[in-house]
C-alpha cells in the first residue's frame, strides 16, 4: 500500500502543544482511519505525544465534518484535530 498526503489542522491547545496550526504530511498507506492516524501522530514527537496523550478528549473532523475514530481517510483529505468545542 502506498503512502498518501493529508492536510492536517490543529486547533486550541492541540495547536499550541504541536507548535503549529497546520501541515501537509505524508502518511503510510496502512494508516486508513482517523483513529489509526491519531495514534500514528502521537508517536511523531513530544509535542504530538502531549497533544494526543491518553485521557485527553481529542475530537476531529474530516473534510470539515465531525468524524469518529473509524472514519476512513484517503489522499488529499483535510483532517482537523481539536478539543471539544466551546463556542456559543
Amino acid at each position: 500500500m502506498t503512502s498518501y498526503r493529508l492536510h492536517l489542522l490543529y486547533f486550541a491547545w492541540l495547536r499550541e502543544r504541536i507548535g503549529r496550526g497546520e501541515e501537509e504530511i505524508e502518511v503510510p498507506g496502512e494508516i486508513a482511519t482517523l483513529g489509526a492516524l491519531s495514534a500514528w501522530l502521537a508517536a511523531r514527537g513530544p509535542g504530538y505525544a502531549s497533544a494526543f496523550a491518553a485521557g485527553k478528549a481529542v475530537r476531529a473532523a474530516v473534510n470539515q465534518s465531525f468524524a469518529g475514530p473509524e472514519a476512513a481517510l484517503g489522499p488529499g483529505d483535510e483532517v482537523a484535530f481539536f478539543p471539544p468545542v466551546t463556542g456559543g
Binding site: 486547533f11 486550541a12 492516524l37 476531529a60 470539515q64 478539543p83 471539544p84 456559543g88
Partner: protein, 158 residues
C-alpha cells in the same frame, strides 16, 4: 431561510431583528438569544476572551445547525451570528434569532440553536485573566446534556 455569519465585528441586534422581519406580516413571534462575555470566572477577573475557530468549517457548521432547526420547526426565518477574535468582558459573542407564526416554535428553536451551537460549532474559547494567566475553556457536561436532550448523538473522541 437563515442568515448565518461568522465575523470578528460586533453585530447590531436591532438591525438584525429589523432585517429578519422587514416587509413581512406572517411572523407572530421572534425568539432571540444573545450570549456575552462575563467579566470573571469563579471570582477571577477576566481581561479578555479569545475565540478561535475553524474557518473552512465554521459557516458550514452553523448552516447545518440552522437547517436542522428549520427541519424540526415551521420557522419563517432566522439568524445565527457568531463572533471570533479577542472580546472584552461584556461584549456580545453570539446572536440567535428564530421567527415563526407562533411563539412555541420560535422559542423552542432559539433554545435548540444555542444548545447545538455550544456542542457543534467549531469554536474554542481561551480566557485571558487580569492576573496574566490564560486557560482554554473546557467543554461542560451540562452543555453536552443540553445538546443531547434534542436527540443528537454525542461527539466521539478519536
Amino acid at each position: 431561510m437563515f442568515r448565518v455569519s461568522v465575523q470578528e465585528a460586533p453585530f447590531d441586534i436591532g438591525a438584525e431583528f429589523a432585517s429578519l422581519s422587514a416587509g413581512r406580516d406572517d411572523i407572530g413571534g421572534i425568539g432571540c438569544f444573545v450570549g456575552t462575555v462575563r467579566g470573571e470566572v469563579d471570582g477571577r477577573p477576566l481581561a479578555a476572551m479569545t475565540l478561535e475557530h475553524y474557518p473552512a468549517m465554521t459557516e458550514r457548521a452553523l448552516a447545518a445547525i440552522a437547517a436542522e432547526a428549520e427541519a424540526r420547526w415551521a420557522l419563517l426565518g432566522g439568524t445565527v451570528i457568531h463572533r471570533f477574535g479577542r472580546l472584552a468582558p461584556g461584549a456580545p459573542i453570539v446572536l440567535v434569532l428564530a421567527a415563526a407564526r407562533h411563539r412555541e416554535a420560535a422559542l423552542a428553536a432559539t433554545g435548540f440553536l444555542i444548545d447545538w451551537l455550544k456542542t457543534k460549532a467549531p469554536f474554542w474559547k481561551k480566557e485571558s485573566f487580569a492576573d496574566g494567566g490564560e486557560a482554554w475553556v473546557e467543554a461542560k457536561a451540562a452543555d453536552e446534556a443540553a445538546s443531547a436532550r434534542w436527540g443528537d448523538e454525542p461527539p466521539r473522541c478519536v
